[in-house]
């Protein structure tokens, strides 16, 4: 093993070094800093020894922190569920009912919302959902009272996030549906099942890896989303990321903010592992 590096290995190192340096400096070092800070004693704007678990104890005992963590988790899971449920029919339609030569056009069209900045899209939702917005004026025109959806912060956050992440969910589901051998569906019907039951017994299980990948892709960023609660919820319904920002930047309580960040990473990690384990059930049975 202790041989001098071959030319191939040296070329490999050269090729990955820019990325490696980037990852070490901008990912590993900050992450380590957060981990270390989270167990130090904090003052305003500084950290000091001794090492303590006080910050984590604070998270565990203070009800408001637990509430925010749980709220973020539930919002993220709701958004994930809604997004995947909406994305599946779209992916199914493109995979099964769009002519092969048109599929890439359809996928391209699905990405169109990304042409506009996220901030602008969020602002546009105000025009749609806000007091006197499109939804309300439509209701008014048929004689119904306004809903002012935007005043329900959590509901608005869920709607905006579900819309924003829909294209991310469509793609992995589409890919897994594309891989389903079409003769399997004919076999299902040949063996006496209707189209719907064949979907439930064949297509759906075979596309589960894509569904789970889509769920992960939506869930991970939504748990830590900062912009949406700030803009849509008007800051009235802070999520994890907003609380971390308050702790780190406004209160300058670095250890407490770091502990919060670590706790939220753990939460995402545990849920993701559960998803991956669930996925194994489906991947295990296939080549």
């Amino acid at each position: 093993m202790a041989q001098p590096l071959g030319s191939e290995a040296r070329a490999g190192l050269k090729l990955i070094s820019p990325t490696a340096i980037y990852v070490i400096l901008l990912l590993a070092v900050p992450l380590a800093t957060v981990l270390i800070y989270s167990v130090l004693t904090g003052g305003r704007g500084n950290v000091s020894l001794p090492i303590t678990i006080e910050n984590y104890a604070e998270l565990w005992t203070k009800a408001q922190y637990g509430y925010i963590m749980l709220k973020s988790l539930l919002v993220a899971l709701t958004v994930t569920f809604i997004t995947v449920m909406l994305a599946y029919p779209v992916a199914y339609f493109v995979s099964f009912h769009v002519k092969p030569e048109r599929k890439s056009l359809w996928l391209f069209l699905i990405t169109i919302p990304f042409w506009t900045s996220y901030i602008i899209r969020v602002s546009l939702w105000f025009v749609i959902l806000g007091y006197g917005g499109i939804v309300d004026s439509a209701l008014a025109s048929i004689g119904l009272p306004p809903l002012n959806v935007a005043s329900y912060s959590l509901l608005s956050i869920v709607i905006v996030l579900a819309h924003a992440y829909a294209p991310f969910a469509v793609l992995p589901i589409f890919v897994s549906l594309e891989k389903v051998d079409r003769s399997l569906l004919e076999a299902g019907q040949d063996l006496g099942e209707s189209r719907w039951i064949t979907f439930l017994r064949v297509t759906l299980p075979l596309s589960m890896p894509g569904v789970i990948a889509a769920a992960l892709i939506v869930f991970i960023p939504t748990v830590g989303d900062y912009v949406t609660p700030e803009l849509v919820g008007d800051g009235k319904e802070p999520m994890i990321a907003n609380v971390i920002e308050i702790q780190l930047l406004k209160l300058q309580n670095f250890p407490q903010g770091s502990a919060f960040a670590v706790a939220s990473m753990l939460m995402v990690g545990i849920v993701s592992v559960l998803f991956v384990l669930w996925n194994k059930r489906y991947i295990g049975g296939q080549k």
Binding site: S183, L184, Q189, D190, L191, G192, E193, L206, K287
Partner: protein, 366 residues
């Protein structure tokens, strides 16, 4: 060959047409398939044989005409309620299920108890020689095993008709020959109608009670293997089934049930009208199978007719030798096959030979 004429009709086609847009895939299919028959649809790729099979299964609608299965018009019957089951070319084994889940797939609505169903699955697996494979994952099977699973999965539902779409084409030669025999045995054992789609004429001849040869969306000939081989209805069928020598000929006279011709290199021959299945046209040729020609050794006498020739090519196969021979000083070359038996040496290129042949083995295509 078993006679099938006295068996009841299982499938009947009445002027079946199928269009894909402008493309006319099936051009007026007529015919019947008998109950318990091993029936083959044979033809080159693109001839419509798979389309015809899929119209029986209900995966393709027909543009016009009628398909009857067991006396019922299938026009409004969906694929999942037809009394047919299919073995797909790709086998279509469900990759997320075990072998027994695959075989038991169609039993969901079966009113039998769980134990009875499990016994039925085990029995079906035993029938195809996969006893004890039930718990295996479907993706861990070899090609031959997948095919057996596909067979068991279809047969467990006791269909009236089993449809097989090129089931052997993915297997290697040894395995294919083995499975041909197994399929024949299985068909006799279960006694249901098998319809096989194949492009392999040898496979069709070996396995079938009757064969429909298809070209360009039409049935060119529907007959038992022996008739198909000895009395092909058209030159195209003759060319597709086995090897056939074609010799240019001129028609001298036609009177009653006799046709007299002059075949290049063979001379004048009087044929029975049954040997001329096609209506009169231009460029008549006579067809001769290689095994109906025999080389005469030493002072052997030809039982019927003989013609002189020169060997142009020798192809040695071990048990057989193929000779390409120029007939009677002409440029007409025929292939003939001789069994290699003791006392019959393999001859060299350029040897002058005498070729024995029989007028009754000729087929005239006009």
């Amino acid at each position: 060959m078993t006679t099938t004429d006295d068996r009841p009709t299982m499938i009947e086609f009445k002027d079946v047409h199928k269009y894909y847009g402008d493309y006319h895939a099936l051009r007026g299919i007529n015919g019947t398939i008998k109950a318990g028959e091993f029936f083959s649809l044979l033809g080159p790729s693109g001839c419509g044989k798979t389309t015809l099979l899929r119209t029986i299964a209900g995966f393709e609608d027909i543009s016009s005409g009628v398909i009857m299965i067991d006396g019922k018009d299938m026009a409004s019957v969906a694929a999942n309620t037809r009394p047919t089951n299919m073995v797909f070319q790709s086998y279509a084994i469900f990759p997320h299920m075990s072998v027994e889940e695959n075989v038991g797939f169609g039993l969901r609505k079966d009113p039998r108890s769980k134990d009875e169903k499990a016994a039925a699955v085990a029995e079906a697996l035993g029938m195809v020689g996969l006893k004890g494979f039930g718990k295996r994952a479907a993706h861990a099977l070899s090609g031959g095993q997948r095919q057996r699973v596909a067979l068991a999965r279809a047969l467990i539902l006791k269909p009236k008709v089993l449809l097989l779409d090129e089931p052997l084409s993915a297997l290697d030669k040894k395995m294919r020959e083995h499975m041909q025999v197994e399929l024949i045995k299985l068909q006799r054992q279960v006694g249901i109608t098998f319809i096989l789609v194949t492009h392999d004429q040898e496979e069709a001849l070996v396995m079938s009670d009757r064969i429909a040869v298809m070209f360009d969306g039409e049935i060119a000939q529907l007959a038992d293997p022996e008739t198909l081989y000895r009395r092909p209805a058209t030159k195209k069928v003759a060319d597709f089934i086995g090897t056939m020598n074609f010799i240019p000929a001129t028609i001298l006279s036609e009177a009653g049930d006799k046709v007299e011709i002059e075949a290049k290199g063979l001379g004048r021959v009087a044929l029975d009208i049954a040997q001329a299945p096609t209506p009169a046209g231009e460029d008549p040729v006579v067809g001769l199978r290689p095994e109906t020609l025999t080389l005469l050794y030493d002072d052997q006498k030809a039982p019927e007719r003989e013609t002189e020739g020169v060997i142009d090519e020798v192809i040695y196969f071990g048990d057989m030798t193929y000779y390409d021979v120029y007939l009677g000083g002409t440029d007409v070359e025929v292939r003939l096959s001789m069994r290699n038996v003791p006392g019959r040496p393999v001859l060299d290129v350029g040897t002058k030979v005498r070729v024995a042949w029989s007028p009754s083995a000729l087929v005239l295509f006009r």
